[in-house]
């Protein structure tokens, strides 16, 4: 869990022994960037904690028992809006598959979960600007839909 602390610690030590002043300058830059964005990350934490209230049961109910294409579209939408860490998302995807939900639907859900971040908008817009954020997410949505269809075809769930 604290791997990145060790990596950063070692990097700082090496950097410090190579060039003390440059290291201090780098740490100052890092701190400046961090303190500037911290408030936005805190806001994001609040949004994510509330979004995660959408329960597993809700997702299982909505994605299960749908016609494949309807399920896929639901998967794309739910995946875009929600955001959850991998250790929650993948077991949930495993449950969906074991309940007989199509891989195409699971792919739609999992891929938009990763690629489309409606919830992470506040952070992304600070780093990319509003326009780039919106276009990047639209592209992510389209890519996710293509991946879902490809998965459906390759698993033999939809006929071409």
């Amino acid at each position: 869990m604290y791997t990145l602390y060790y990596i950063a610690g070692i990097a700082v030590l090496i950097s410090f022994f190579t060039d003390r002043e440059r290291t201090i300058k780098g740490l100052k830059i890092g701190w400046k960037k961090f303190s500037k964005i911290l408030g936005t990350y805190l806001k994001l934490l609040i949004i994510l904690s509330i979004i995660l209230l959408i329960s597993d049961q809700f997702i299982i109910n909505y994605l299960g028992g749908q016609a494949p294409f309807i399920g896929m579209i639901m998967g794309l939408i739910i995946g875009s809006i929600t955001m959850m860490p991998g250790f929650i998302a993948y077991p949930l995807a495993g449950i969906l598959v074991s309940r007989g939900v199509d891989y195409m639907v699971v792919a739609a859900f999992i891929t938009t979960l990763m690629l489309v971040g409606v919830a992470t908008y506040p952070v992304e817009k600070e780093y990319f600007g509003i326009k780039a954020t919106i276009w990047r997410n639209i592209a992510g949505f389209v890519i996710s839909a293509m991946i879902a269809v490809a998965t459906g075809v390759l698993y033999g769930e939809v006929l071409v």
């Binding site: 602390y5 780098g26 911290l38 995660l52 860490p85 600007g129």
Partner: protein, 177 residues
């Protein structure tokens, strides 16, 4: 700049109220608040273990890596190999998009072009190695192989299209400093 400061201040105030609400919920056994609180812990733990060291590394990166080397590898002068580098960097970025956003911003201001940072950020959410291993173990190797195999070409193509579009309209990415 002053506006930025104020919105940060507002975020801190909102966050303090939120924390007070969570703590209050635990005292009063308010179920909804407790559930939000336990969700909060999941994400907060993630961010605490990732963000501070990530920004230390970003700061060091900023002073040690020269502009020329970024331009040569991720800029206009670099050909197709910039996409390969962007994907490799993405696969090894710890912490996913939370870290990839500030890294991409830093790369851009050091001379990386749009298409490479778009490839980088998009790939960072798609092909992180630890996540992909977890996915393959639960959903099967075939699923992960299809997802990654189909997505990478699409990621590169869409990044090129978006990159061209943004250079054409002369878009400027905000400087996060």
């Amino acid at each position: 700049m002053a506006k930025k400061k104020n919105s940060n201040k507002l975020n801190y105030i909102i966050f303090s109220i939120f924390i007070a609400f969570i703590v209050g919920s635990y005292f009063l056994n308010f179920d909804l608040g407790e559930r939000i609180g336990s969700n909060f812990m999941i994400f907060a733990r993630d961010m605490v273990s990732i963000l501070p060291p990530a920004f230390v590394l970003i700061g060091l990166f900023d002073v040690w890596v020269s502009r020329e080397s970024i331009e040569n590898n991720f800029g206009h002068t670099s050909g197709f190999k910039k996409y390969i580098y962007a994907i490799l960097l993405a696969a090894t970025t710890v912490g996913g998009t939370f870290v990839a956003f500030p890294v991409a911003n830093t790369l851009y201001h050091k001379g990386a072009n749009y298409s490479s940072i778009f490839t980088y950020v998009t790939a960072a959410s798609l092909v992180m190695i630890p996540m992909s291993i977890m996915e393959a173990s639960i959903l099967g190797v075939k699923f992960t192989a299809i997802r990654i195999g189909v997505s990478l070409p699409l990621v590169i193509i869409s990044s090129i299209i978006l990159g061209n579009f943004f250079s054409k309209i002369n878009y400027k990415i905000p400087k996060a400093e």
